[in-house]
């Protein structure tokens, strides 16, 4: 028989070692505990953000092609970067992106703020209409891209019939997606339709955060509604508006799915935003090195612009 029997001595030893462990744990400094908690997060960040970033930077200086792994990877220095920055087609893509970002954000901010002012007042069916307004942003961009393609169809699409109803222009006499002049506006229009509710929500949060006492003070001072809007409402909502602009700008700068499904970058390359160029170069042409360089350029541009913007935003908040 080889059964172990607890003796007072062994029990004492176990108790002592357990207590020692607890003491050791209790003895961890705040710094050590902090490290204990953030280490998994840091490890994840390193694995899925920092490592790919460093790898992308490294690839951007090579002629690497992911579909031709057997080819010897050659260091090409800054050739990819100079090629990209000197490529007129790419600058045209940048202009397309800028046009899309600028106009969609402008329209979303104006309309979103107006809707927020409207929804901020109680009226009959308030909840119902608020939900209806929010519906577009709940849809998938892929779905939106697809069904707007049908809506824009010149012969059977609802959009052309609506234009015909209000203006008398025959529906099949013009086309939105295939027209050189109108195609860039089609993506602006759809993005505005989809994301105005999002800007509205953020503005609504801003409006609801303004204390009633400030409006009461303005009333005591006999400020007009117009003056109250310019001196109270707008400045108080401004940080929220700027935040909405930041989120939408970042999102639209990398917009891919909706544009891809709606116009596929066409007609020609007139709606080819840089994200579509990047996807084509990386995953269709397999110019991995070149597209890594483009990704880094875009990253630096967005990161730099966002940082400047956040500094301005902080200044506005401090005012």
């Amino acid at each position: 028989m080889n059964a172990s029997v607890d003796t007072p001595e062994t029990t004492a030893v176990r108790v002592t070692s357990g207590a020692a462990r607890r003491i050791r744990l209790r003895g961890l400094s705040d710094r050590s505990i902090a490290w204990l908690f953030i280490t998994p997060t840091i490890a994840l960040l390193l694995a899925i953000n920092i490592f790919p970033l460093i790898w992308t930077i490294q690839m951007s200086f090579t002629n690497y092609k992911a579909n031709m792994g057997w080819l010897r990877i050659k260091n090409v220095g800054i050739a990819n970067y100079s090629d990209i920055l000197g490529d007129p087609d790419l600058w045209a893509g940048m202009q397309t992106t800028a046009h899309f970002v600028f106009w969609s954000i402008l329209l979303e901010v104006v309309l979103g703020f107006a809707l927020a002012l409207l929804v901020n007042h109680k009226f009959r069916g308030h909840s119902f209409w608020t939900t209806v307004i929010l519906l577009p942003m709940m849809l998938s961009p892929a779905v939106v891209g697809n069904f707007w393609t049908f809506l824009y169809q010149p012969q059977v699409g609802l959009f052309n019939y609506l234009v015909n109803f209000f203006s008398g222009i025959p529906p099949s006499s013009f086309q939105m997606i295939g027209d050189v002049q109108l195609a860039p506006w089609t993506i602006v229009l759809v993005d505005t339709w989809m994301w105005t509710p999002y800007v509205m929500l953020i503005c609504l949060a801003g409006l609801r955060s303004i204390p009633d006492s400030i409006y009461e003070a303005a009333e005591v001072d006999r400020a007009s509604a117009w003056r109250t809007f310019w001196s109270v409402t707008l400045p108080m909502v401004m940080p929220f508006l700027m935040l909405a602009v930041l989120f939408r700008a970042i999102e639209n700068f990398k917009m891919f799915d909706m544009v891809n499904l709606l116009t596929n970058g066409g007609p020609g390359s007139l709606t080819e935003t840089v994200s579509i160029t990047l996807k084509r170069a990386a995953f269709e042409k397999w110019h991995t090195g070149w597209s890594s360089a483009l990704a880094i350029i875009l990253f630096v541009a967005v990161f730099g612009a966002a940082n400047i913007y956040i500094k301005v935003l902080n200044k506005v908040r401090q005012r």
Binding site: M68, P154, I177, V180, G266, P267, G268, E284, K285
Partner: protein, 443 residues
């Protein structure tokens, strides 16, 4: 000796393990399966039907991975490039052959063909060069021609037969209305129908490929450009493209395509490929439709013999050609079931299977099928298919074909649909792009 509880438990446990092991072994034998990857279209459904015979004969179950044409290349080239084991067999596009051979994605089939008596001389020459060989015109085979295909045309037979329509056409052009034989005739017919009222409905002249994202507009425009003298490179000096891609004839061909787009297509057809053409034709929107022969059996079935007629791609001043489509079937080298996959190819190559393949909606490339005396009468589009397979040309099949294709898509769409620049500028730009692509690829 009376067995103890312990002994009984031991025996039961052993028996259970043995049963599980045997069961899983049997299940493994029953579950032998192959996954075949292809595009989601009518012939794929026919192949599902055909493959039931293979399963019945061998017990190997067939699974299918079909994806829409618009994402077909993206999806399966990604699978191949990532050395995925998803597909045991793949019916890959003709342009993939160079890359798939050089990258080691496909199993080389020469030895297998020799061992099993499969002769490439038994298949239509154009399909062997187009779907199986890499390098081209050398006896190195990476696929068995599986689905012969090319661009052809359909026309509204009922409209062409209307007495008032025929009378108007004769009065206008001084000849009988008939399917066009060259591009001048084509333009006349297309212009004639454009905007015409037929049975109280406005109709349009023609449907042509204009799709931007994958390969559409390139697969369309080449049908005109080949006929006007477009060549991919100097036949005597490979990769020398200046003066061939942008020759005066090629420029003229491109201008004709734009002319057709501008004068004679329905509104909104600015990014349209196969399915849009089928819809436009079936719904009575257009008089003539460009599309792949692969769709014609289904279209004929859907519309009936009175409404649909077929014709070969029109000829031009420099020749008579048509864009090759279609695919070969290959064994993926990363597959764990290569032997079964090769068995499938061996089965598929049999004349009786190829005959059935044609009968149920596929397009066989086996000479025994297409050169049989009864073939031209076996379907109304069969004679045109036979003629077309004798005049086909294909796009580059180089390993970097995707770059070459995307460049052409961009240049052509910019000129034809967006109306940017001139045909000469578009093709000069294309020469520049392709020269850079080949330089990058070390050629």
């Amino acid at each position: 000796m009376k067995p103890t509880d312990k002994t009984v438990r031991g025996v039961v446990a052993l028996a259970t393990i043995a049963a599980l092991a045997l069961g899983s072994g049997a299940a493994r034998a029953e579950d032998k399966s192959l996954t075949l990857c292809w595009a989601a279209w009518d012939p794929a459904n026919a192949l599902v039907e055909l493959s039931k015979d293979f399963t019945a004969k061998t017990g190997v179950k067939m699974k299918f991975e079909f994806v829409p044409w618009t994402s077909y290349a993206d999806r399966f080239l990604n699978e191949l490039n990532s050395h995925s084991k998803l597909c045991d067999l793949i019916i890959g596009d003709s342009q993939w052959i160079g890359g798939s051979a050089e990258n080691g994605h496909y199993v080389k089939l020469n030895d297998f063909f020799d061992k099993n008596g499969i002769k490439m001389s038994d298949f239509v020459d154009a399909t062997v060069v187009g779907y199986s060989e890499w390098p081209k015109n050398t006896p190195n085979y990476w696929a068995l021609p599986a689905m012969a295909d090319a661009v052809g045309w359909t026309y509204r037979k009922d409209w062409f037969a209307m007495p008032d329509v025929r009378k108007d056409f004769k009065a206008k052009y001084g000849r009988d209305l008939a399917p066009p034989k060259d591009w001048d005739e084509f333009l006349q017919v297309a212009k004639f129908f454009q905007g015409r009222q037929i049975a109280g409905k406005k109709v349009y002249g023609a449907y042509i490929f204009t799709e931007r994202g994958s390969e559409g507009i390139t697969m369309g425009v080449t049908n005109v450009m080949y006929d006007y003298g477009f060549e991919y490179d100097n036949p005597k000096k490979p990769y020398e493209m200046n003066g061939f891609v942008n020759s005066a004839g090629a420029v003229k061909g491109l201008e004709i395509y734009k002319q057709i787009f501008d004068c004679c297509t329905a509104p909104g057809m600015t990014n349209a490929y196969m399915s849009e053409g089928l819809d436009a034709f079936k719904s009575g929107q257009v008089a003539m439709q460009m599309n792949w022969f692969a769709f014609f059996p289904g279209l004929y079935k859907a519309m009936g013999p009175d409404k649909i007629g077929f014709f070969v791609n029109p000829a031009g001043p420099s020749g008579h050609y048509s864009q090759l489509g279609g695919q070969g079937i290959s064994v993926v080298s990363y597959s764990d079931h290569k032997d079964d996959a090769l068995n499938y190819i061996k089965w598929f190559a049999q004349p009786s299977v190829q005959q059935k393949w044609w009968e149920i909606g596929g397009y066989s490339a086996l000479k025994a099928v297409v050169e049989a005396p009864g073939f031209p009468k076996s379907a109304p589009f069969a004679p045109d298919f036979l003629v077309t397979m004798g005049i086909v040309k294909d796009f580059w099949a180089e390993p970097n074909y995707a770059s070459l294709l995307l460049d052409m898509q961009k240049r052509i769409h910019n000129y034809v649909v967006a109306g940017q620049g001139t045909a000469q500028l578009a093709l000069d730009g294309l020469v520049k792009d392709w020269t850079k692509d080949f330089k990058d690829a070390g050629k």
